[in-house]
């Protein structure tokens, strides 16, 4: 892929990503097969990199160079990054890994893996702005727990990716700094709010990336950018260091170009953290040992897996192209042995209003700390209230302000019962209905978004239309469940078509157990 990249002036006509069979990293694919047996999940970049490094087919420095070159070429057209790490520092880290390998020392399972981090996740050595002007230039004194865990395992942080300000948006257009383009069609949005993280993986600027998902901010951009996005169970991954948008819904999620990569990434960042009281103490099973080799595949490998297609998600309001892609995927699952049936979640449509009330309410509180007093941009004033007002008026974008206003209203005396409390009741109903559906089915499936990527600017002035696009994903956050989005087809659009994502919802903390069939890549390889 990299060798075929077009000069910049052709970029608008030729997408960065083509609909091609060879998606794997060029160095790896051009290299000799690194192992005699191919993985079923041999699309895993992480496993390939590890193999190549340990077998000395490739050095971490070479690998890093190739990614950095690609990043340099593509970034001006996609604008995924708000901050790119100093190349010298990145190469120094790669060199350290090479030295270790040379000395036959142990290297971490993520050694040499270039990872991009959404900019609302704190990193100690680089700016973390949350995509907001109010935090322009802010450098946290600590790494988020997820970032620290990645670094400890040898991953190299390549930069901080663009997002809708503080995660509030579905297009990444609400960033205070830049608009990120969809690598499949540069005139389209990458989705959001983790648009930069999704697009950077899609454009192969990095191996994997971290995003955050409050109402679909990992899954919807994964769908738009044609990559795999994994939203873990609430509590599976520590939120320490994630700038809070809606604390009871926020989770850090993973992007990769294969299910296996997102799974490996998730495994790396999962587990209890004493700095996050809501992080689960459940043991994190090591599923990486469960990968199956291609040679051992049965003809119907998913025999007996109970799959529920959520009826409400393929009703009216969903693009016909998306619908047929999902139906195609469902039929394919049946061929693989799944028992498919439709399930109805009558409370499904209540999720959207409940989500926007709860998320706005919590955000109105969570964003109170951005007052200009201790850090971030500060308006100059000689009166306290004016200082607050000006710092926040100039520091926040309009989408953020709107949500703060909505949330403040919903929490106000006299309105609390009608809005916040009622939304919490709806949340309980939704949680119960998902629980019931997942008692009868191993997994639930739905589209990740009602449409494929739309044009930049198309919904900017129509927030309700944009909010409506979150219908497929918000319920999962309200229920706190894990969900995986992976490409399952294309619709017309752009030069080569636009990807459509299938959302697979599992029971709480079941990322590794019941999804193992998916992590094994049985389904994915047929796409």
């Amino acid at each position: 892929m990299l060798s075929t990249i077009q000069p910049p002036r052709y970029l608008s006509r030729f997408p960065l990503r083509g609909r091609t069979k060879s998606r794997s990293f060029h160095i790896l694919s051009s290299a000799q097969p690194v192992t005699k047996t191919c993985f079923a999940a041999d699309k895993s970049q992480i496993l390939s990199i590890r193999d190549s490094l340990l077998n000395r087919h490739l050095s971490a420095v070479e690998l890093t160079h190739s990614y950095l070159d690609r990043l340099k070429q593509t970034e001006p057209h996609i604008n995924c990054f708000l901050h790119v790490s100093d190349p010298d520092k990145v190469l120094k880290q790669a060199q350290d890994i090479d030295d270790k390998i040379k000395r036959n020392e142990e290297v971490g399972p993520l050694a040499g893996v270039l990872v991009a981090i959404k900019d609302n996740i704190c990193t100690a050595d680089m700016p973390s702005t949350g995509g907001s002007y109010i935090l322009e230039g802010y450098r946290p004194p600590f790494d988020a727990t997820a970032v620290k865990r990645l670094k400890d395992l040898g991953a190299i942080v390549v930069g901080k990716t663009n997002l809708d300000e503080f995660g509030m948006g579905s297009t990444t257009e609400a960033s205070a700094f830049k608009v990120t383009a969809n690598p499949w069609d540069l005139s389209r949005v990458p989705g959001g709010s983790s648009g930069g993280s999704a697009a950077s993986v899609s454009a192969r600027q990095c191996v994997v990336s971290l995003g955050s998902d409050t109402g679909g901010s990992v899954r919807q951009p994964a769908s738009f950018c044609g990559v795999v996005g994994l939203k873990p169970t609430y509590g599976r991954v520590s939120r320490f260091g994630l700038m809070a948008y809606a604390s009871s819904l926020d989770v850090i999620g993973c992007f990769g170009s294969s299910v296996a990569d997102t799974g490996i990434l998730l495994h790396a960042i999962s587990g209890h953290d004493s700095l996050d009281a809501t992080s689960s103490k459940r043991e994190v099973p090591d599923f990486t040992s469960q990968f199956t080799y291609a040679s051992s595949l049965k003809s119907r490998p998913l025999e007996g897996l109970r799959v529920g297609l959520i009826r409400e998600t393929v009703d009216a309001g969903v693009d016909s192209g998306v619908k047929s892609a999902i139906e195609g995927a469902a039929a394919h699952l049946e061929q693989l042995g799944c028992v498919l049936k439709e399930v109805s979640l009558p409370s499904f449509s209540l999720g959207l209003p409940a989500y926007y009330i709860l998320a706005s309410s919590e955000s109105s509180s969570n964003l109170s700390r951005y007052d200009g007093v201790r850090y971030g941009n500060q308006a100059s004033s000689d009166e306290l209230n004016v200082l607050y007002e000006e710092s926040r008026a100039k520091g926040f974008g309009s989408e953020v302000k709107m949500r703060i206003l909505m949330g403040t209203y919903a929490l106000s005396a006299g309105y609390y019962d009608a809005y916040y409390k009622r939304a919490q009741q709806v949340r309980t109903i939704i949680r119960k209905s998902f629980k019931a559906a997942l008692d009868e089915n191993d997994i639930l499936i739905s589209p990740a978004a009602p449409s494929a990527a739309y044009k930049i600017g198309e919904k900017k002035n129509d927030p309700l239309a944009m909010y409506a696009g979150d219908i497929m994903t918000v319920n999962v956050n309200l229920a706190g469940l894990p969900a995986l989005v992976l490409p399952c087809g294309f619709v017309e659009g752009g030069a080569v078509g636009l990807p459509v994502g299938l959302q697979i919802i599992g029971a709480a903390f079941d990322e590794f157990a019941k999804h193992k069939c998916l992590l094994n890549g049985f389904f994915e390889r047929n796409l």
Partner: protein, 549 residues
């Protein structure tokens, strides 16, 4: 909103309506705030017109008027817990540390930081809830109380709103005899957990203020009383009893000067016989029990005077500040209706779930509390004055109890502690923990006097040495050869010696100047180095002087 902004300012009233200039200096922590003279002046004007009455007449009139009214007093108390670390992070808190030295990303409210509850806070809350006879909520939760102020890093305070950890208790106390005495029982509405805010340090000229976040995130228990108190002294004693309880429990140092125990008082009055409440006024800046007492009595008089002059509409719902220098309350801010703090459950903290076993285990580990101690001392036959003196200070009570358990007589032990030992402590400005005399040795001292081994006079003499230097009673007696001489023959010999050495005085005595007995007794005592048993000495001396032997 403005009214909520300045809620914590107590000491410098002219900062209450400041124009502020915030600018960061060393990184993230300093801000400056300018005060505005014009607005301060406006504030002055808002004060109700003063009633002109000559001072002496005022006192008399007020005393008369207040008799027609009943005051209703409720108190909100904040107790700072003496946990090793803050409520939601691992920072220590030491009063008086350099500004912004006990802080971390969590208590500074940096982006991405999350609170994790210190379990000691729950333990201390349960202890206090049980000590105040409250019903504990086995399922409670934390909520966010939202307002903007520079000392509040997150823009909200983590507190408890609709489900406090403890509710519906009471506190028993005995009023001091000098205030008329009597037993009182005051209701406790609720006890809840929350975090403290930072502190604003105002510059001398009022040009700017600086934020010190050392205190931010320190755990507090807020105790809300029922409006059960009627006088300043009752309120002050309620606060004093809370201080005793938290000190007995070891959950706080209860120090009012350091702000470890802070009281906000609500006062309203109504004509005697009326059932509905009057408009209540909140008083802040009460830094001692006596200022609570005096501020309330002032406020009652102020309100009664306004009532009696038909100006009861001048009593408005407001926060007033006690000015220690002027001995009066002044308007701090008027309330425009209720503030909307937009409480909602804190999503970062799980619910607080207590098991009955946990509560029972804490209940079983509670020390003897002040009220139980007082009742026990009372049953021992001590007077209420003694009871209050001994039970008021946990350390004194402990000392007393240990002295008793070493076998000392109750009344004698009480007298020694309240008399000579208390005087010594007061004189040297020491606490009972600082003195070198152990309770065991005090018991020994008392026993030695009682048994006649040493005289009471000698006892008092060696007490001061024991207090200052320690050591044992037996050791001192031996070292200084202080055992009382109770042998009549030995005493007789000494008397003979003194009489023979003072023939002139003997002659005078025998010729009727019997007052000289004292002279002889003194000489003998001197000769015995104070060790002669005085009773025996006088008896034998009298016999010998009168020539009976």
């Amino acid at each position: 909103m403005a009214s909520t902004l300045f809620r914590t300012i107590q000491i410098h009233p002219f900062f209450l309506y400041p124009t502020a200039l915030f600018s960061r200096r060393n990184g993230v922590l300093y801000c400056t705030m300018k005060s505005s003279q014009t607005q301060t002046a406006t504030q002055e004007k808002q004060q109700p017109p003063k009633v002109k009455v000559p001072q002496h007449a005022l006192k008399k009139t007020v005393d008369k008027i207040t008799r027609d009214y009943e005051a209703i007093i409720g108190i909100e108390t904040h107790v700072q817990l003496s946990t090793l670390t803050k409520a939601f992070c691992s920072c220590p808190y030491n009063y008086g540390s350099q500004p912004n030295t006990n802080i971390c990303p969590i208590c500074m409210g940096l982006p991405g930081a999350l609170p994790v509850l210190n379990s000691k806070v729950i333990e201390f809350a349960v202890k206090l809830g049980l000590a105040l006879n409250c019903k504990l909520s086995l399922n409670s939760k934390f909520d966010r109380k939202q307002y903007f102020y520079p000392d509040l890093p997150k823009g909200y305070q983590i507190s408890q709103f609709d489900i406090p950890i403890a509710t519906g208790g009471y506190v028993d106390l005995d009023l001091p005899l000098e205030f008329g005495g009597g037993h009182r029982k005051f209701g406790i509405t609720r006890v809840h957990m929350e975090e403290d805010a930072g502190k604003l340090l105002h510059s001398g000229n009022g040009d700017y203020s600086q934020v010190d976040l050392n205190r931010a995130g320190v755990p507090l228990l807020e105790i809300v009383s029922e409006p059960d108190m009627r006088t300043g002294i009752e309120a002050a004693e309620y606060a004093a009893e809370l201080q005793r309880v938290v000190r007995y429990l070891g959950i706080s140092n209860g120090n009012m000067q350091e702000g470890s125990l802070r009281c906000d008082v609500n006062v309203s009055i109504r004509p005697v016989g009326q059932s509905e409440f009057g408009t209540k006024v909140e008083i802040k800046n009460l830094n001692s029990f006596s200022s609570i007492n005096r501020a309330i009595d002032f406020e009652i008089s102020r309100q009664a005077l306004l009532h009696s002059q038909g100006q009861s509409d001048q009593i408005v719902q407001e926060t007033r500040l006690w000015e220690e220098g002027a001995q009066k309350t002044v308007t701090m801010r008027k309330k425009e209706g209720l503030s909307d703090y937009r409480y909602f459950p804190e999503p970062n903290l799980p619910e607080v779930i207590l098991t009955q076993e946990y509560v029972d285990s804490i209940s079983n580990s509670l020390p003897e509390l002040p009220e139980a101690k007082r009742r026990r001392y009372e049953k021992m036959g001590l007077s209420m004055q003694d009871v209050l003196f001994l039970a008021n200070d946990m350390n004194v009570a402990e000392y007393f109890d240990e002295t008793l358990s070493s076998g000392a007589d109750i009344k004698l032990a009480a007298n020694w502690i309240m008399g000579d030992i208390a005087a010594y402590m007061k004189n040297k400005k020491l606490s009972i923990n600082d003195i070198k005399l152990t309770p065991q040795e005090l018991a020994e001292l008392i026993a030695s006097i009682k048994s006649g081994t040493i005289s009471g006079k000698i006892g008092k003499e060696i007490l001061s040495e024991l207090l200052a230097k320690g050591g044992t009673v037996k050791g001192l007696i031996e070292e200084k050869d202080l055992i009382q001489i109770a042998d009549p023959v030995e005493i007789g010999k000494m008397i003979d010696k003194v009489i023979s050495e003072n023939p002139k005085q003997l002659e005078q005595y025998r010729s009727g100047k019997t007052k000289l007995q004292g002279f002889f007794a003194g000489q003998v005592m001197k000769l015995s180095k104070g060790k002669a048993n005085p009773g025996l000495l006088n008896k034998i001396l009298l016999e010998k002087l009168n020539g009976q032997s």
